[in-house]
């Protein structure tokens, strides 16, 4: 069967073109910083910006007359291709600058940045050029808002893994993707910008140097986890900084739709949101238990134990990936806990990765219903979530997602083991990249480790896993189905 383009392909290329133009403009920011600091790397940014702008403008011009609506399949293609294409071009400054990075390393770092994973192959961050550091952080920040828009606009429309529960009323009735979206997106971006600015100021007040404050504001609100220091947050040795970043990570992992509602005066919806309540309650309980463990096993004081436990736990659950210390030294129970929480994830409609809280809530609702039906088979239940019915289709979608997640985790672990990694490194590398967290476990890629040590084949596997997880599996997998490409 011949492959013929389907409707909406022109829109996809048009949108990609604009994304590249925006990316090229973003490259001018680190260029300016390098110029200001008299660092010669600005040339690499100029070249990268030029190349990216060239392709972007070419795409926009070539398809401006064909940009009409977005069909379902075109929406899938746009979602997946926007990540793949922008990651490739985002890697150009890393590859073209004077950093001695192989093409694999450049792409790994770019993908890790855009998917807000935060695994890094760079050592010597403390002395890295300012433009380079800023580009890493800026990419995470841009990736963060991209994730929010994707999660709030595209994924519900595409009904990915149960996300149809978050479709707005209007999109339920129409087949169009973007009926009321423009205003909504504008508000999202405004809130994102405001929170970033707030964090940067707070970090400065907490004692962080201005350049570091801006970079960490970018990477904390995006729950990305890149730092300007090799030793991550431990390098700052400041409780005030840790507290501000803790707040930043939490803010980044809550549903942004609720922020929009909060800003419009609908505060009760924010505090009544079940995802938010479940998420915060879980974090509080887990932090308290972990802090208790630290007090008992290491004799730490309550305040110190709670901050250490909460910071690192929240960092992993929100899929940020900062470390204030090496928690793999906290004993086997703590290491097991950190492995388990790696995949939980944040709230949907945020920058966080992982399985996501709402999917656990749905599965809990479904399991509870099933349990009751075991001894009351004639009972007809009508479970609801966020005011909408939890249909069989939703449950299947969530179960399929979780199945794919766990299945991918297993396949990746075996693949990484076959490439020579030990079990702890393989299991944690697969988990951390699929869930877009950042650090793994063990001496190689744990919080004190670095992904630079891994061989190129392993890096390719891991960056693919980052994209697979970020695109919530289905968005990428549909492209591999032959029927997707037939008219």
């Amino acid at each position: 069967m011949a492959v013929r383009p389907f409707p909406g392909l022109g829109t996809v290329f048009y949108a990609l073109g604009w994304l590249l133009v925006i990316l090229a403009a973003a490259m001018l920011v680190p260029l300016a910083v390098d110029l200001a600091f008299a660092n010669p790397d600005w040339r690499g940014f100029l070249g990268s910006s030029g190349i990216t702008a060239f392709f972007g403008i070419a795409l926009v011009l070539a398809h401006r007359h064909r940009a009409h609506g977005l069909s379902l399949r075109a929406a899938f293609l746009m979602t997946a291709s926007s990540w793949l294409v922008t990651a490739f071009f985002a890697a150009l400054p890393f590859a073209l600058g004077g950093y001695d990075l192989s093409p694999t390393d450049a792409l790994f770092e770019a993908v890790s940045a855009m998917t807000t994973t935060g695994s890094t192959v760079i050592t010597g961050l403390d002395r890295a050029p300012p433009g380079f550091l800023l580009w890493r952080s800026l990419l995470q920040w841009v990736g963060g808002i991209g994730i929010i828009v994707m999660a709030l606009v595209l994924l519900p429309f595409l009904r990915i893994g149960g996300m149809q529960l978050f479709r707005s009323e209007s999109s339920d009735r129409s087949e169009k993707v973007l009926p009321t979206t423009a205003e909504f997106v504008r508000r999202l971006v405004t809130i994102y910008l405001a929170l970033t600015l707030l964090l940067a100021i707070a970090l400065g007040l907490a004692g962080m140097p201005a350049f570091d404050a801006v970079n960490h504001a970018f990477t904390s609100i995006a729950t990305g986890g890149f730092s300007t220091r090799d030793a991550s947050i431990a390098a700052f040795d400041s409780e005030a900084v840790e507290l501000v970043l803790l707040a930043g990570m939490l803010m980044g992992a809550l549903p942004y739709a609720r922020y929009v509602g909060l800003a419009a005066g609908r505060g009760e919806a924010f505090f009544a949101d079940s995802q938010i309540r479940t998420f915060l309650a879980f974090l509080l309980l887990a932090s308290l238990l972990l802090a208790l463990w630290l007090m008992v096993s290491q004799g730490r004081g309550p305040g110190e134990a709670l901050l250490a436990a909460a910071f690192n736990l929240v960092s992993i659950v929100t899929t940020t990936g900062y470390s204030s210390e090496d928690y793999t030294l906290w004993g086997a129970p703590a290491v097991a806990l950190f492995l388990a929480i790696t995949v939980i994830g944040g709230c949907t409609g945020s920058t966080a990765g992982g399985i996501k809280i709402f999917r656990f809530e749905i599965l809990w609702i479904a399991t509870r219903e099933y349990l009751v039906q075991l001894f009351l088979p004639s009972r007809v239940g009508s479970p609801r979530y966020a005011g909408k019915p939890v249909t069989g289709q939703v449950i299947i979608a969530v179960l399929s997602y979780v199945f794919l997640f766990i299945g991918s985790w297993g396949v990746l672990t075996v693949l990484l083991g076959a490439l020579g990694l030990d079990l702890v490194t393989a299991v944690s590398a697969a988990a951390t990249t699929l869930a877009n967290v950042g650090p793994g476990l063990g001496p190689v890629i744990g919080p004190s480790g670095n992904f630079a040590a891994l061989g190129d084949p392993v890096k390719w596997v891991l960056l693919s896993a980052m994209l697979l997880g970020r695109l919530e599996f289905f968005t990428l997998l549909v492209l591999f189905h032959p029927r997707f490409w037939r008219r």
């Binding site: 020579g420 001496p443 061989g455």
Partner: protein, 220 residues
Amino acid sequence: MLASVLLLAAAARAGEVIEIAEPRAARIVDGDSLQIDGRVIALFGIDAPEIGQRCRYDDIAWTCGLAAAHDLRKHVVLGRGPLRCEVQRIRPDGVREAICALGDLDLAVVQLESGMAVADPDAPPGYRRSEARARQARLGIWHSRFVPPGIWREDDRRAVGKAAGCMLRARRDAAGGAFYYTLFDPEFDRVAADPRSIVYCSDDNARLDGYRRPGEILSE
């Protein structure tokens, strides 16, 4: 963070235990050496690439020596609880070869398992197994071509003119003291800017020329 430094200073002999409560108080010299107060310690049983050493991957000569140093530093800065070093033997120039651990974590094993060091010929069997695992998985230096650190040091000693990028500087001060500094020392940038300072690419070679670490206790 309160830093209380416990220094159990026995006589300078094998069996001596050097311990600090806050690991980040230790100064990293390179991928297999650190300084705890006045003692310079080389991690027993391993040899990491020298600070100025590069390894070759395809046509990229990457700074594996620096990477090894950064890795060691990261483990130390992010560690909590006592850093404890048990001296195994003393070199003629006063450097103590010791097994250093953060709790149960042997720093030498960490460097070996990350592919950031090679095991010495007389290293314990466990160390050689760690090296073998990293080599099999092609981690760190094992996915590159590199000159064994011992041979690299000798070549560096004979080389005329040091690569400007080596992050180790030595200087004789007005009082006659001769000290070497690495990029992790707060004084490094100031010393590097001093036209009288000399570039070294290996701490061992700096020591052979008579330089010592600032604050190093020279005789017991």
